[in-house]
C-alpha cells in the first residue's frame, strides 16, 4: 500500500509579496504580478523522503519551517520549485483546526476526520479507537469549549492518528498535554513511522533526536545542515545557545558558520582578525572526524589537578591528543553556563609554539592567569586542527574537555568580576551638600 508513497521537494522557493494594498494582492494572484517589496521565506530547499523516514525540522522562529510544511501540505503555493507528493497527507499544522467550541468532541472529531479524508462510515468504525486513544472519558460528548487545552490536544491528535495518512506533517503541536499523553503520541509516531513519511517540527530537541532518523536545520529560509538528527540538533543548539541564533545575525555570518571556510578560524586570516572570527566558528564548523583523534584536557594549579577556582590564580590547561595530524594546531574556548564563549585561544599566534609541530600525538600546556569570573560552572572545549599545507582544517574537537567551578570572592554584575582594590570618594570643596 505504501510502496507508492513518495515525497520529493525540488528547488523549493517561497517569496512573500508585501503588497501595500489588498487590491494589488488580489490582482497579483490573478495575473501573477509581483510586489515591489518582496521577502524570501524559503530558498532552494530540496528534500526526498520515502516511507520509514522520520524527518525532524529544527530552526529558529521565522526561519521558514512552517512555510515549508504548509507548502508540502498544499495549503500554500510555492513561488518556485516543485513538490511531488504521492500518498494521503495529513497535516497537523494546528491541533484541532476547524474545531468549533460549541460542538461536542464527537461532532468536531467527525468533521475533522472527514476533512482529513475519511468517509463517515470509516469514522464510525474507528470511533471507539479514537475515544480510547484520546482517553478523555465522558467529556467526549461535551462541547469542546469545556475542554482543557490538554484534553483538546488529546482529542485532536487522536483523530489525526486514525486517518490513515501516508504522510504526516506535524508542526510543534505535541508540546501540549500531560507527560503521559506526550509519551503516548510519541509511541504512536514511532510505531506509525515504519510505513509512513513523517515530517516533525519541534523546538524540543530531545524529541527530535529521539523520534527522527534524519533532521534538517533551516535558518533564514535555507537548509543549513541536514543529516543525522543528533549532529543537526547539536549544531542548531550550539548556534542558539551562543545567542547568535537570530536569523539576521546568522545570515551576516552565514558563510563562515556553514561552509568549509571554518578553516579561517585557524588560518592566518583568522589570526589577524583576532577576536570575533574564531569565536563564531569554533563550535559549528564541519569536521572530518573519523574517530581516530582523541583529545584529553585537564586543569592544574601548581602542578596539581584542580577544578575549583576563585579567579586570579595562575592555571595550567593541558591538552593532549593522539591520532592527530602531522602538523597540529591546538585551540580551546571557555564557555559560561549559557554556552557563551568567554575566551578563545590557540597555538597559532603564540611564539613559543611556532615550529613545534608534534607528529600524530602530543601535548600542549597553556599557562595563564584565570580572570575574575562570576561564580558558576564553566566548560572548556578543545580542538585540534591540521596546520599543514593549505588552509587549516579542524580535525576533531571535544566539548566539555574540561570543566571547572568558580566561586568568586569579588562582587560585581556581569560576565566577569572586577578585582576591586579600593574605591575612594572625594568631596569637592565648596560644593553644596
Amino acid at each position: 500500500m505504501s510502496s507508492d508513497v513518495e515525497l520529493s521537494v525540488r528547488g523549493l522557493g517561497k517569496v512573500y509579496d508585501l503588497h501595500d494594498s489588498p487590491w494589488k494582492a488580489l490582482l497579483s494572484s490573478l495575473f501573477g504580478w509581483h510586489a515591489a517589496t518582496r521577502k524570501a521565506a524559503l530558498e532552494d530547499v530540496n528534500l526526498d523522503a520515502r516511507p520509514g523516514d522520520v524527518i525532524g525540522i529544527v530552526g529558529a522562529n521565522g526561519a521558514g519551517k512552517s512555510t515549508l510544511l504548509e507548502i508540502i501540505a498544499g495549503t500554500r503555493t510555492p513561488t518556485s520549485g516543485s513538490v511531488t507528493v504521492r500518498g494521503r497527507v495529513a497535516a497537523l499544522l494546528e491541533l484541532g483546526a476547524g474545531f468549533n467550541p460549541d460542538f461536542s468532541g464527537l461532532e468536531n472529531a467527525r468533521l475533522s476526520a472527514v476533512a482529513y479524508g475519511l468517509t463517515p462510515a470509516q469514522f464510525r468504525e474507528r470511533w471507539p479507537a479514537i475515544v480510547a486513544f484520546a482517553g478523555i472519558g465522558d467529556f467526549i460528548r461535551r462541547p469542546t469549549r469545556e475542554y482543557s487545552s490538554g484534553m483538546f490536544a488529546r482529542l485532536a491528535f487522536a483523530v489525526c492518528a486514525h486517518v490513515d495518512a501516508d504522510i504526516l506533517i506535524i508542526d510543534e503541536i505535541l508540546g501540549v498535554g500531560d507527560v503521559q499523553f506526550q509519551q503516548k503520541s510519541m509511541r504512536f509516531l514511532r510505531e506509525a513511522a515504519a510505513d509512513k513519511i513523517i515530517l516533525y517540527v519541534s523546538h524540543n530537541q530531545t524529541a527530535v533526536t529521539a523520534l527522527c532518523n534524519r533532521a534538517i536545520w533551516i535558518d533564514d529560509g535555507r537548509v543549513v545542515k541536514s543529516g543525522a538528527p543528533k549532529a543537526v540538533v547539536h549544531a542548531y543548539h550550539r548556534a542558539t545557545a551562543r545567542g547568535t541564533g537570530a536569523a539576521g545575525t546568522f545570515s551576516e555570518l552565514g558563510d563562515l558558520v556553514t561552509g568549509d571556510d571554518a578553516a579561517r578560524v585557524f588560518g592566518e586570516a583568522g589570526q589577524e582578525a583576532a577576536g570575533a572570527l574564531p569565536l563564531v566558528d569554533f563550535g559549528t564548523a564541519d569536521i572530518d572526524d573519523d574517530g581516530t583523534l582523541v583529545i584529553e584536557a585537564g586543569l592544574a594549579v601548581n602542578g596539581k589537578p584542580a577544578s575549583s577556582f576563585h579567579g586570579g590564580e595562575p592555571v595550567t590547561l593541558s591538552i593532549a591528543w593522539t591520532g592527530g595530524p602531522s602538523e597540529a594546531l591546538v585551540a580551546f574556548v571557555v564557555r559560561d553556563p549559557l554556552g557563551q564563549v568567554l575566551f578563545y585561544r590557540d597555538t597559532g599566534g603564540i611564539e613559543a609554539t611556532k615550529g613545534v609541530k608534534p607528529a600524530g600525538s602530543g601535548q600542549v600546556r597553556f599557562d595563564f592567569v584565570l580572570p575574575y569570573l562570576a561564580s558558576g560552572a564553566y566548560a572548556i572545549d578543545a580542538a585540534v586542527a591540521d596546520a599543514g599545507t593549505g588552509p587549516a582544517r579542524i580535525m576533531g574537537r571535544k566539548e566539555f574537555a574540561a570543566s571547572f567551578q568558580v566561586s568568586s570572592r569579588h562582587i560585581s554584575a556581569g560576565l566577569a568580576n572586577l578585582a576591586m582594590r579600593a574605591a575612594e570618594i572625594a568631596v569637592v570643596e565648596g560644593s553644596e551638600p
Binding site: A25, S29, L30, E70, G74, T75, V89, G98, L111, V114
Partner: protein, 268 residues
C-alpha cells in the same frame, strides 16, 4: 477534465465533507440556544405575522383585490422577503466566509471552493423551510395547495447557480479586500428596494424596466409570484435567458475563485 464539469465534480467528490460542513454551518447559529433548530422556523413566522399586520391590515397594498383573499397579500410579501433574504444572506456572508474559516485554508488540505456551496446551501435550507411554512399558510388561507408550488424549484434552480457564482467572486475578493463586507452591508438594503418585493415590475416606469431585469431577483420574484398566486405561467424565453446569465456568472465566478485562491494562505 472538461472545464464546465470541474466545479460540480469538486462538490461531488467532496460530498460527504460538504454535508458535514453544511450541517455544521446550519447548526452553528442555533447551537447553544434553547430552541435550537426551531429558530429556522420561528424567524420567518414572526415575519409573516408582522407583514400580515402591516400589509394586510394597516397599509393598502398593490395586490389587494387581485387575490381571492386579502390574507394572501402578506404571503406575497413574505415570498418576496424570504427570497430576498436568501440572496442577502449569501452576498453578505460570502466576503467574510473564507476568513472566518481560515483554519481550513491554512491548516488542512481542503477543497476551499466548496465553502461557497456551504453558504448557498445554508441559505437554501432556510429558504426551503420558509417556503414550506408559506405552503402551510397558503393551505390555511386558500384551502388548497397551489399547483404552482411544484414549479418553484424550477424557478429557483438557476438562482442557486447564480448565487454560487456570486459567492465565489465575493469569497475571493472579500478575502483580500476586507472593505467589501462593510460595503455590501451598506448597499444591501438599497438592493431590497430596487427589487420588486413590495411592488410589481408593472408599476416600474417602462423606461426603467429594462434595468430591473438585470437584477437577478426580478425574474425569480415575478415568476414565482405569478405561478403561486395568480395562476400564471413561467416566462420560458426569459427563463432560458436567466439560465444563460446564471451559468455565465457561475463559471466566471469559479474561474475567478480558482485564480484568486492561490494567494489566500498568504493574506489571511
Amino acid at each position: 477534465m472538461a472545464v464546465w464539469i470541474k466545479p460540480l465534480h469538486s462538490l461531488f467528490s467532496n460530498r460527504q465533507l460538504y454535508w458535514e460542513l453544511l450541517v455544521r454551518d446550519i447548526l452553528t447559529n442555533v447551537r447553544g440556544s434553547m430552541l435550537g433548530l426551531a429558530w429556522v422556523l420561528i424567524t420567518p413566522l414572526v415575519l409573516v405575522a408582522i407583514y400580515t399586520f402591516v400589509f394586510g391590515v394597516v397599509l393598502k397594498s398593490t395586490w389587494i383585490g387581485q387575490t381571492e383573499s386579502p390574507l394572501e397579500v402578506p404571503l406575497i410579501y413574505f415570498l418576496g422577503l424570504v427570497t430576498f433574504s436568501f440572496f442577502f444572506e449569501i452576498i453578505t456572508r460570502s466576503p467574510e466566509f473564507i476568513r472566518s474559516n481560515k483554519t481550513y485554508v491554512t491548516k488542512i488540505v481542503f477543497p476551499v471552493d466548496i465553502l461557497a456551496w456551504v453558504v448557498v446551501g445554508t441559505s437554501a435550507m432556510k429558504l426551503l423551510a420558509s417556503i414550506a411554512l408559506l405552503a402551510v399558510f397558503m393551505v390555511l388561507v386558500m384551502g388548497h395547495l397551489p399547483a404552482g408550488l411544484l414549479l418553484l424549484p424550477v424557478i429557483y434552480l438557476p438562482l442557486l447557480f447564480l448565487c454560487t457564482g456570486l459567492a465565489w467572486i465575493l469569497n475571493a475578493i472579500g478575502t483580500y479586500v476586507r472593505d467589501l463586507y462593510q460595503f455590501l452591508l451598506a448597499v444591501a438594503p438599497v438592493f431590497m428596494f430596487v427589487s420588486p418585493i413590495f411592488y410589481s415590475i408593472e408599476q416600474v416606469p417602462s423606461s426603467a424596466r429594462a434595468v430591473f431585469w438585470f437584477n437577478p431577483l426580478t425574474f425569480v420574484l415575478e415568476n414565482a409570484r405569478a405561478v403561486l398566486f395568480f395562476d400564471g405561467r413561467i416566462d420560458w424565453t426569459g427563463y432560458l435567458t436567466f439560465w444563460a446569465g446564471a451559468l455565465l456568472v457561475f463559471f466566471a465566478g469559479y474561474a475567478f475563485f480558482q485564480k484568486a485562491r492561490r494567494g489566500f494562505a498568504d493574506v489571511i
